[in-house]
C-alpha cells in the first residue's frame, strides 16, 4: 500500500477498501452511513407509532405490532442511530482536532464499527424471524423474560454485540486523547468537542459494563433456565431496573455531551469569538458526567424504593441543572458581543438553545419526586426525553454534520435546502412534542397502543402526529441535500468557515495521513492564534520525515461476522440442538480471526519523506 493505492479504482476495490479500512476518516463515513440507515429505520417506526395514534381507538396496527414498533424505535434510535452518528463525528473530527494522524488503535476502531453494524443487523433480523422485541427499549423483567417470541433474544444478542463495539470505541478514544495529542496540545487547550469525546468515552467505559452484565443475566434467564429475575424461584425483577438504569442514565449523557461539544465548536466559530468561560465549560462537562452516575434511581421513583432513596435521588438530579445551566449561559455569553453568521450549522445550534432549555427545565420538574408520581411513564416523560434527545442530540448531530460536512466529504452542503430542512424540522419537532407534556398530565400513559374516545386526548394526539410528518419531510430534504451536494456541491477550501481549531488547518477532505508534519500548538484555538498573529497556518513541531501508517485488514469484519453467526446459534439453540453448530462455526470464525491477528505480525508501512514532499500543500 502506498499513495498510489488511494487513487480511483473500480467498485469492487472501493468496497474492499471500506471493508478493510482502518483510517479513522473512512470509519467515520461508515458510522455515518450505518447510523443514518438506522436513523431512517427508527424514523419510519416513529411514523407507524404516530399514525396509529392519530385518532382514538385506531386500528392501523395491532397491539402486539405496536409494542414491537415502539420497542424497536427506542432501541434503534438510542443504540443504532444517535450513538453511531456521534461516534462517526468523533471519529471524523477528534483526531484532527488534537493533531493526531489516526486513533491509537486503528484496527480496534474498525472492529468497533463492524461489531456495532452486525449487532444492529442482528437485532433488526428479528422483524423477519417471528417478531421484534416487544418489552420496550428498557426491557423490564419479568415481562421481557416471559415474552413468547425470540424478539427479546435478538435484543439481548444484538445489543451485546453492538455494545462491545461501542465499548471498544470508547477505550480507543480515551487512549488516543491521553497519548496522541500534538506537541503543545495540553488538556486545557483541547477543543471542547475533543473534551466531550474524552468524557463521553469515560462514561462508556464505566456505564456499558452494567448493561453487559444485565444482558447476560437476561440471556441466562431466557436461554439457560437461570432465575435471576424470576420471583417465584427467589429472583428479583427490580434488580434489572437498577442494572439497566445504572447504564441507562449515563447513556443519556453519552448522547448529549458530544452534542454539547458540537455546539461549543459551532457557536464560537460563527460568533467569531472564543468560547466564553472555557474552563467552566470543561469542568461543567466533567461534573455532569460524574453526577450522571449518581441519579439512576430517578427513573424508578414509583418503584417503591421508599422516601429516603427518592429524596436523595431527587436532590442529586436537581443538582445536574446547575452545570447544565452554566453551559447554556456560557453559550449565550459567547454569542453576546460576537459577530454572528447564521447558516445551516448555526441555525441548528440556535434552534437547540431554546429547545434544549425546555427539555432541561422539564428535567428538573421530573426530578421533584412527588410531581414525578404524576409524570412518570406518561406522555410528559415522552415529551421530556424527546426534547433533550431530539432537541439536544439530533439538533447537535445535524449541526455537526452541516459544520463538518466539507471536512469529511470535501463538499459544502446546500445552504438553501439546509435552511428549509431546519425550519420544517424545528416546527415539526415542537408541534409533535410540546403538546405531549399536556397529554401526559391529562392522563395519557406512554406505550399505549390506543387511547380511548371521549378522554379529551384527541386534539393533542392529532396535532402531535401532524408534527411528525413535518419532521419526516425535513429528514427527506436532508437526504436530497446529501445527493444534491454529492453531485453539484461546492468544493470548499481547507478552511471555509474561518475556523479556530486544528481540523481547519489542513485540506478538506484531509489527506489520509492527516498532518504531513504534526503541528505545534500554542494555545486554545490554535489555528485562530496563528491567524491573529498574521501567519495563518500552523508551525510544524517536527521536521518532515517518514510517516508510519497502519495496514488495512479484513479481520475486524470477519470477527464481527463470526459473532453475528454465533448470535443466531445462541438464539435458536433453545429450539433445536443443531443450532449449536452455528455457535461453534461463528465463534470459530471470530476466535480464528483473533488468533491470526495475534500470531501474524503486522508492522504497517511507511510513507517516505520523498512521497510526502511530492504531495502539494
Amino acid at each position: 500500500m502506498s499513495i498510489a493505492a488511494a487513487q480511483k479504482k473500480g467498485f469492487g476495490a472501493f468496497l474492499w477498501d471500506y471493508l478493510t479500512t482502518v483510517d479513522h476518516k473512512k470509519i467515520a463515513h461508515l458510522y455515518l452511513i450505518g447510523g443514518g440507515f438506522f436513523f431512517i429505520l427508527g424514523g419510519l417506526e416513529a411514523m407507524f407509532i404516530r399514525i396509529q395514534l392519530i385518532a382514538p381507538e385506531n386500528d392501523f396496527i395491532s397491539a402486539g405490532l405496536y409494542n414491537e414498533m415502539f420497542t424497536m424505535h427506542g432501541t434503534t434510535m438510542i443504540f443504532l442511530a444517535a450513538m453511531p452518528l456521534l461516534l462517526g463525528l468523533m471519529n471524523a473530527v477528534m483526531p484532527l482536532q488534537i493533531g493526531a494522524r489516526d486513533v491509537a488503535f486503528p484496527f480496534l476502531n474498525s472492529l468497533g464499527f463492524w461489531l456495532f453494524m452486525f449487532g444492529g443487523i442482528l437485532l433488526n433480523c428479528s422483524w423477519f424471524l417471528g417478531g421484534a422485541p416487544d418489552s420496550g427499549w428498557t426491557a423490564y423483567t419479568p415481562l421481557s423474560v416471559e415474552s413468547p417470541t425470540h424478539g427479546i433474544d435478538f435484543y439481548v444478542l444484538g445489543l451485546q454485540i453492538s455494545g462491545a463495539g461501542t465499548l471498544i470505541g470508547g477505550i480507543n478514544f480515551l487512549v488516543t486523547i491521553v497519548t496522541m495529542r500534538a506537541p503543545g496540545m495540553t488538556y486545557m487547550r483541547m477543543p471542547l468537542f475533543s473534551w466531550t469525546t474524552f468524557v463521553t468515552s469515560t462514561l462508556i467505559l464505566f456505564a456499558f459494563p452494567a448493561l453487559t452484565v444485565g444482558l447476560f443475566l437476561l440471556m441466562f434467564d431466557r436461554m439457560f433456565g437461570s432465575a435471576f429475575f424470576n420471583v417465584a424461584l427467589g429472583g428479583n425483577s427490580v434488580i434489572w431496573q437498577h442494572l439497566f438504569w445504572i447504564f441507562g442514565h449515563p447513556e443519556v449523557y453519552i448522547l448529549i455531551l458530544p452534542a454539547f461539544g458540537v455546539f461549543s465548536e459551532v457557536i464560537p466559530t460563527f460568533s467569531k469569538k472564543r468560547l466564553f468561560g472555557y474552563t467552566a465549560m470543561v469542568f461543567a462537562t466533567i461534573l455532569i458526567a460524574f453526577l450522571g452516575f449518581m441519579v439512576w434511581a430517578h427513573h424508578m421513583f414509583t418503584v417503591g424504593l421508599g422516601p429516603v432513596a427518592n429524596a436523595i435521588f431527587a436532590i442529586a438530579t436537581m443538582a445536574i441543572a446547575v452545570p447544565t445551566g452554566i453551559k447554556i449561559f456560557n453559550w449565550l455569553a459567547t454569542m453576546w458581543g460576537g459577530s454572528i453568521t447564521i447558516n445551516s450549522a448555526m441555525l441548528w445550534a440556535l434552534g437547540f438553545i431554546p429547545s434544549f432549555t425546555i427539555g432541561g427545565m422539564t428535567g428538573v420538574m421530573l426530578a421533584s419526586a412527588v410531581a414525578d408520581y404524576q409524570y412518570h411513564d406518561s406522555y410528559f416523560v415522552v415529551a421530556h426525553f424527546h426534547y433533550v434527545i431530539v432537541g439536544g442530540v439530533v439538533f447537535g448531530i445535524f449541526a455537526g454534520l452541516h459544520y463538518w460536512w466539507p471536512k469529511m466529504f470535501g463538499r459544502i452542503l446546500n445552504e438553501k435546502l439546509g435552511k428549509i430542512g431546519f425550519w420544517l424540522f424545528f416546527i415539526g419537532f415542537h408541534l409533535t412534542f410540546f403538546i405531549q407534556h399536556f397529554l401526559g398530565l391529562m392522563g395519557m400513559p406512554r406505550r399505549y397502543w390506543v387511547f380511548l374516545e371521549d378522554q379529551g386526548l384527541d386534539t393533542g394526539n392529532f396535532i402531535s402526529t401532524i408534527g411528525t410528518f413535518l419532521m419526516a419531510i425535513a429528514a427527506t430534504i436532508f437526504l436530497i441535500n446529501i445527493i444534491y451536494t454529492a453531485v453539484k456541491g461546492e468544493k470548499p477550501a481547507g478552511d471555509p468557515y474561518d475556523g479556530r481549531t486544528l481540523e481547519w488547518a489542513i485540506p478538506s477532505p484531509p489527506p489520509y495521513y492527516n498532518f504531513k508534519q504534526l503541528p505545534l500548538v500554542r494555545g486554545l484555538d490554535p489555528l485562530w492564534i496563528e491567524k491573529m498573529d498574521g501567519k495563518g497556518k500552523m508551525t510544524p513541531a517536527e521536521p518532515l520525515g517518514d510517516v508510519h501508517m497502519p495496514n488495512g485488514s479484513i479481520l475486524p469484519f470477519a470477527m464481527s461476522l463470526g459473532f453475528f453467526v454465533a448470535g443466531f446459534g445462541f438464539i435458536y439453540q433453545t429450539d433445536h440442538q443443531a443450532w449449536n453448530l452455528a455457535i461453534f462455526v461463528g465463534m470459530g470464525i471470530a476466535l480464528g480471526s483473533m488468533l491470526i491477528r495475534s500470531l501474524k505480525d503486522d508492522h504497517g508501512y511507511h510513507i517516505s519523506k520523498e512521497e510526502l514532499e511530492r504531495e502539494a500543500d
Binding site: A63, E146, W423, G456
Partner: protein, 350 residues
C-alpha cells in the same frame, strides 16, 4: 431577524391554542384538576416548578433573542473581529449561584412531600385494600371486611385508604391521575400507597407500566362515595349469597351454563379470595366491560364469544369450551343481573 421570531412564535401560539381547545383534559381523568390528596401534593410541586422554570426560560430566551438581534453580523462588517473575551468570574458566579438557589427552593418542599406521601404511621386505623395487578385487570380485596371485587374500587370520600399492592405476573403501575400519582405494582414485594378522594365521583384509573399487548386497555375505576354509602356497600357485598337463584329463566340458564363451562373454576361470585380471574359479585354494576367497553349485553356477549378480539393477550382466551351464541346470551343476562347493592357508580354521581 423577524422571520425567525415569527416562525418561533407561530409554533408556540399553535400549541397554546390547541391546549386551550382541549382544556385541561377530561374531568376525573386529568391530573391538572386534582381531586385527591396525592394529586394535590403533586400539583403543588408541578405549579411551583413550572413557575420557577418559566422564569428561567424567560431569562434565557430574552438574553438569547437580544444576542441574536444585536450581534448578528452586519453589512460592511465582514472583516470585523470581536473582542475575544475569555470569561467573567462575576457573571459565571452569578449563573452558578442563582440556579443553586432556585433548585433549593424546589428541593425543600419536594423532600417534605416525599416523606408525607410515604407516611404509613396510621395505616392500621384506616381502610386497607389488597390490590393485585393482573394481565390485564385489577383485583381489590378488602381484607378486614372480607369483601372481594374487581375493576371497580369503592372508597369513601375524605378518608385515607391504604392500597397494599402486589402483582400476580409482570410489573404494573396503578395510576388514578385525578386522585393520586402512581406507584408500581411489583411481583416481589408489596408496595403501599394511600389515596384520598376529596369529593364523590367515578375516577379513571390506568395501568402505567408496560405489561403486554393490552397494557393500554387495563383501565379501572375508583368510585368515591360518601362514607355512609360506602358502609352500606360493604354490608351489601358481605351479605351476597353466591348460590342465590336468579328470577327469570334466561338468567337461570346462564347460571347453569356458567357451571357447565367451568367458569367458576377461575371466577368467583361472593367473597372467595382464591379465584384467579376477576370477581363477578357485582358484575351488573360494573362501569365497563373488559375495562373499557360500555356496559351492555351485546358487548358482554362479544367478550364471552371472543375475548381475544377485545383484549389481545388476555388470559381468559382458550381457557373454556367454545360457547354457543345462546349460552353466551344467557350468561350475559345472568351476569348483568348481579347487582347486590344499591350503591352503584350512579351513587357517586356518574
Amino acid at each position: 431577524m423577524k422571520g425567525w421570531m415569527g416562525k418561533f412564535k407561530f409554533v408556540f401560539l399553535l400549541s397554546f391554542l390547541a391546549i386551550i381547545l382541549a382544556g385541561c383534559g377530561r374531568e376525573n381523568l386529568t391530573a391538572l384538576v386534582p381531586k385527591g390528596y396525592g394529586a394535590e401534593s403533586s400539583m403543588n410541586l408541578i405549579v411551583l416548578s413550572t413557575v420557577i422554570m418559566t422564569f428561567v426560560f424567560i431569562v434565557v430566551l430574552s438574553v438569547y433573542l437580544i444576542a441574536i438581534v444585536r450581534f448578528r453580523k452586519k453589512k460592511g462588517q465582514e472583516n470585523y473581529i470581536p473582542k475575544q473575551v475569555e470569561g467573567s468570574k462575576k457573571l459565571e458566579t452569578i449563573w452558578t449561584v442563582i440556579p443553586i438557589i432556585l433548585v433549593l427552593i424546589l428541593a425543600v418542599p419536594t423532600v417534605a412531600a416525599t416523606f408525607d406521601l410515604a407516611d404509613e404511621s396510621g395505616k392500621s386505623d384506616h381502610i386497607n385494600v389488597d390490590v393485585t395487578g393482573n394481565q390485564y385487570w385489577w383485583h381489590f380485596s378488602y381484607a378486614d371486611e372480607e369483601v372481594q371485587t374487581s375493576q371497580d374500587l369503592y372508597i369513601p370520600t375524605g378518608e385515607k385508604v391504604y392500597l397494599n399492592m402486589k402483582s400476580s405476573d409482570v410489573i404494573h403501575s396503578l395510576w388514578v391521575p385525578s386522585i393520586s400519582g402512581k406507584m408500581d405494582v411489583n411481583p416481589e414485594n408489596e408496595n403501599t400507597m394511600y389515596i384520598e378522594a376529596n369529593e364523590e365521583g367515578v375516577y379513571w384509573g390506568k395501568c402505567a407500566e408496560l405489561c403486554g399487548p393490552s397494557h393500554s386497555l387495563m383501565d379501572f375505576k375508583v368510585i368515591a362515595v360518601s362514607p355512609e354509602e360506602y358502609e352500606q356497600w360493604v354490608a351489601d357485598m358481605q351479605s351476597v349469597d353466591p348460590e342465590e337463584k336468579p328470577q327469570d329463566a334466561v338468567a337461570q340458564d346462564g347460571k347453569a351454563a356458567m357451571e357447565a363451562n367451568n367458569c367458576l373454576n377461575c371466577h368467583a361470585i361472593g367473597s372467595s379470595p382464591n379465584a384467579v380471574g376477576p370477581n363477578l359479585t357485582n358484575f351488573g354494576d360494573r362501569t365497563k366491560i373488559a375495562g373499557y367497553l360500555e356496559t351492555n349485553k351485546q358487548n358482554l356477549v362479544d367478550w364471552l364469544l371472543d375475548p381475544e378480539s377485545i383484549k389481545p393477550g388476555n388470559l381468559m382466551t382458550g381457557k373454556y369450551p367454545e360457547l354457543s351464541e345462546e349460552e353466551a346470551d344467557s350468561i350475559a343476562e345472568y351476569l348483568l343481573q348481579l347487582k347486590p347493592s344499591e350503591i352503584t357508580p350512579e351513587s357517586a354521581g356518574n
